[in-house]
Symmetry: C2
């Protein structure tokens, strides 16, 4: 692994999104989510518990008297908001919003302690208690989000006040944790700081930041287990100690290089793996990269829902075991799918492989954006693949599944996480190396890259995911030699055409990418066409819950059936053999989506009031079935929903 040759993601500053699909989401975040969350941070929302978030900073900085309020990780809410604001400012400058952000940063920085420490929970409750419960109390998690937002804000505005505050805090953390005998041997209870430090390193190039990230990664799960030693001192019981999850919940049962399966809390897991991938990339660590590859494959091939959702169990919001993918009791948290995108993106930075891009795209167009409604006002934590509203109400094992999105959450991790993802989606589209540009996602817009030292801009035109064509027009001052890599999505299954200036390119994709290496000229156009037939998919037969069933997709979009279109008792439907799919773009369906109809079948019910009866050949009658994009479910009130249908 030659670490010099790794690629890096694209700064959102070099992107201007123009395609209606994503521009609409970014506008929703700008006009709905960011202002709404600002109200939340300031405890001005009716009908919900106060956040206490900004008040905690005022108390911590001595501006106000009071107790700490909210969760131990309440500080992270403002950091996620600031990160979304930063990306939004890049796409849509807004002096008033920037002023609000600056003032908020002033408030945050004013709470910093002389030694650099900055966590309001312990500043308010007693600094003597800090660093005594890494397992549960999220100090390093908050610092992780703080770091991510400071990097983003610096990138967006060039202002370094927040960044310098973070660097001071990181210096303090570096003085507390490390291999030196006098330092603590701990690591984050909820991972994120690992990848955040790597983003910081990307700006500072300070080896200390890489070293600290690598320490946290390497130390995790080493004997004696830090969380056990810590619990002996603080007496805090591990909530998961008596379950199978136990230390797996925190991915802290064995060192990361020995971890064979994606396990434990799904968000924590993919955040950790993202950090591992960044450390592996920067340090050229082959054994760490192998662990990343193994864990990625375990997720993608054995533990991921067709929507890109991960986390099969509500208990622990966790992975369970290979091929255990129950549709109606899934947890599949929005944040976990977002974290899976983080992980996939970092694997792509190391090594372009179609599987990474496919997973990133699958999560994005399905289990990530399903987290928000079409108005940007309501959110899902849990993104199930099968819902019967009565079960959610009356069968507790389904109670974590909500049949409609909710306005806000006490523990509001998903909405701001979605906000920062959606405002920066363009930066997932490409990775850059010195001499190459890799296009992973098909996002319409203007992208500026520096390739081989020369500025090149790419104008991407597409109506993806509804239409099959993506064209990339290049603009440059002088001819430039580089490689333009185009990801050929796995869903194409080889059925695509790729043209340069109207001439078809014959070369086959390697590892899912076609590499176009040549001297490019101003005005060159690459055109990728991916016929978007409706696809009928089945799961690996080891997936017990999907046996005998199929799912429908078109392009990257997975579809579902809703009661609103298909009536109650979706389980009584089957696809049947006609398969005369009609996909059509409906401009009036939530701003325009492609929906699908097909002649399917519905089991006729004798209507007799007997539970168990002699089996008879079932009688089906034809029925037109309608599918809508999965991510758009639950925008029309309460009703049944199902992704999988019997064949």
């Amino acid at each position: 692994m030659d670490k010099k040759n790794f690629s890096v993601p694209l700064s959102p500053r070099k992107i201007r999104i123009t395609d209606p699909f994503w521009a609409n989401y970014m506008e929703l975040v700008r006009t709905e989510v960011i202002p709404y969350q600002w109200e939340a941070l300031n405890d001005r929302l009716p009908d919900t518990d106060p956040s206490y978030c900004l008040r905690n900073f005022r108390v911590a900085s001595g501006m106000e008297k009071g107790e700490f309020g909210g969760c131990v990780f309440q500080d992270s809410d403002v950091y996620k908001w600031l990160e979304a604001v930063a990306y939004s400012l890049m796409a849509h400058p807004d002096a008033e919003l920037e002023k609000l952000a600056d003032e908020t940063i002033d408030l945050i920085c004013s709470a910093q302690q002389p030694d650099g420490y900055l966590d309001t929970y312990y500043i308010i409750n007693g600094l003597d208690k800090r660093w005594t419960n890494l397992r549960d109390n999220h100090e390093l998690y908050c610092l992780g989000h703080m770091t991510e937002s400071a990097v983003a804000y610096y990138d967006a505005t060039g202002k370094d006040k927040f960044l310098n505050t973070v660097i001071r805090y990181v210096d303090h953390v570096d003085s507390i944790f490390g291999p030196e005998p006098e330092k603590k041997k701990g690591y984050p209870g909820h991972e994120i700081l690992e990848m955040a430090l790597m983003r910081l390193y990307g700006i500072t190039h300070d080896e200390k930041h890489l070293k600290l990230a690598k320490y946290f990664v390497d130390q995790r799960g080493q004997q004696p287990l830090y969380f056990e030693e810590e619990a002996k001192l603080n007496g805090e019981k591990d909530y998961f100690a008596n379950s199978w999850l136990d230390k797996r919940y925190h991915q802290a049962d064995v060192p990361v290089r020995e971890q064979q399966y994606a396990e434990g809390h799904a968000v924590r897991a993919v955040y950790l793996y993202s950090g591992m991938a960044s450390v592996a990339q920067a340090s050229g660590d082959e054994t760490l990269l192998e662990a990343c590859q193994r864990l990625f494959e375990d997720i993608a091939r054995r533990q991921m829902y067709i929507t890109g959702g991960i986390g099969s169990s509500a208990y622990g919001e966790a992975f369970t075991y290979d091929y255990d993918l129950p549709n109606d009791t899934a947890y599949t948290e929005t944040c976990a799918s977002i974290g899976l995108m983080f992980f996939a993106r970092r694997m792509l930075e190391i090594c372009p492989r179609g599987e990474y891009g496919d997973v990133m795209e699958r999560a994005l167009y399905n289990g990530v954006i399903s987290g928000m409604d079409q108005d940007g006002k309501r959110f899902f934590y849990v993104n199930p693949l099968e819902v019967v509203p009565e079960a959610c109400e009356k069968n507790r094992s389904r109670a974590h599944v909500k049949p409609v999105r909710r306005k806000w959450f006490g523990c509001a991790c998903c909405p701001p996480n979605l906000a920062r993802l959606l405002t920066s989606v363009g930066s997932y589209a490409y990775t850059l190396k010195d001499d190459s540009v890799l296009m992973h996602l098909f996002v319409g817009g203007e992208f500026s890259h520096t390739v081989n030292g020369k500025d090149v801009s790419f104008s991407v035109k597409t109506n993806y995911p509804w239409e099959e064509t993506v064209s990339v027009s290049m603009a440059m001052a002088e001819d430039t030699c580089f490689t333009y890599g185009v990801r050929i999505p796995g869903w194409c299954r080889g059925n695509y055409t790729l043209q340069v200036n109207g001439e078809t390119v014959a070369c086959q994709p390697e590892e899912g990418y076609v590499m176009l290496s040549r001297t490019w000229k101003d005005g060159d156009v690459i055109t990728l066409t991916m016929p978007m037939d409706v696809q009928v998919l089945s799961a690996n037969p080891k997936v017990r819950e999907d046996i005998g069933k199929v799912a429908i997709s078109r392009g990257p979009v997975v579809y579902c059936m809703e009661e609103a279109d298909n009536g109650k008792d979706l389980h009584m439907l089957r696809l049947g053999s006609k398969r005369d799919f009609q996909a059509s773009f409906d401009p009036n369906f939530f701003g325009g989506m492609t929906t699908i109809t097909v002649t399917g079948e519905k089991l006729t019910d004798c209507g007799c009031d007997i539970l168990y009866r002699p089996d008879a050949e079932p009688v089906y009658e034809e029925k037109t079935l309608k599918w809508i994009p999965y991510y758009a479910w639950a925008n029309r009130g309460v009703g049944e929903m199902s992704v999988w249908i019997r064949r």
Copy 2:
């Protein structure tokens, strides 16, 4: 409703079971369960928490110093043991065991307080606190079990010491609860006392006992809700208050006559309904009977597993809603199926209907006896219909499901409940009226009845449930005119022959029973033949979890597939169209059972390591499938099990 004409169950004293199926179970209870439980009651079991049960009585009676130990309902353990002992003594006199029981009764009675009160939890912890938490603290529940066992012991031995102690305690309870202004308006938090008082009434004919039972039934769910008023005083939070269950958990949300669905904790529910049925019978209360019928039908037609299991949810061990019958997350507690038998039996006493008998038989031969292993040493609380052992370990929503029976439980309700059921199973076989005998179950043995004032004995010979013939030979001193009613099981679907002295009886069953009314002579023989073809059953299509699937039964026995016979991945099997069932009695399979084989099909797996792939016509290969009786599952180690299979 003419209350004079209601039938009554048969005393176990008038029964001698001879058929190998039940005699074996009774012997297991006598030789294994009763002695083992005696050790448990005396805290002499290794590897398990002490029961404290008898020690609590010693402390309460002042014989020993100490604190109360175990659950608030710990007293009930010894009562259930005594009830099983009573039935066992009837079937198998044993002077030593009876002496042990007498001494235990002496101990119990020595703890009785001057005012009649007898609950060790409050005697030890302070009598001033008694009757302050009916909702949670099980005082009336313990009295219920005390009453049941005292009645049984009196019936078995004629000794009335225990019975008189109970009557004194009931008198005390009667002085505390009732409609009079000065009395409390409470009722049991865990029902059972209602039906127990009705059994007491059957012996005492004291209207006070009927009146108290009826008060508890009528008062339940009346406004203001007693449990809410009580909680205001004692400040005890209702564990279920914030869930849909809420007051439904205790069947205390609305008055019983207004209850439309079987709801809440399943054991509590069917215990209540049993008491309601007994009160309805004795008081000729039509509106109460209507409620019983409605609730029975809701269970039998919409909320009962094919095994006779009830309670779809582990949370609250509760009913959920109509047609919600998930196989792998079921609770289906052994005690709930036993309670369903209590309810069915009492409905049969009111009115012989095939549905009641069918449900009683279905529960007995499936979801009840599945609770105990073939050695009488290990027990299930939870009787699921589909088990993947890895899911039980790693997916918390399946963690209440155990893939093997366990030795004993901290809360040991099911083993002693099974013991008292199995030792009295013969008494479920018949109900009697003045002028008629109704045969509900086909249990081989000698039964003595008094019909129209004359003693008649019936010798039932059968190898049910394995063989299709049941013959009943009558013995009497002189010719006697009466009706002998024979239940024609629903599973026969009209395919049976009924003969008297070799001559076929032509009359059709009414409501599931053929009524043979004539003057019977000594030596008359009734022969019922029910061809036991293997049956393929499907569920009402509204049952989402069973759609596209079938189950296999033969006679009253529901079958299942185990990994031990069919390999892993049972979900990849389907029945297919051959249906060439071979049922054969295997004398070496756990003492002899009929097992079934058929040529089924197994989905071939391409083995490719991809989760989602283009749907292709699935390829199946023939595979011999083996079914064993459901109740005998998990006697051969840990493995997958499934009752339902795809068609």
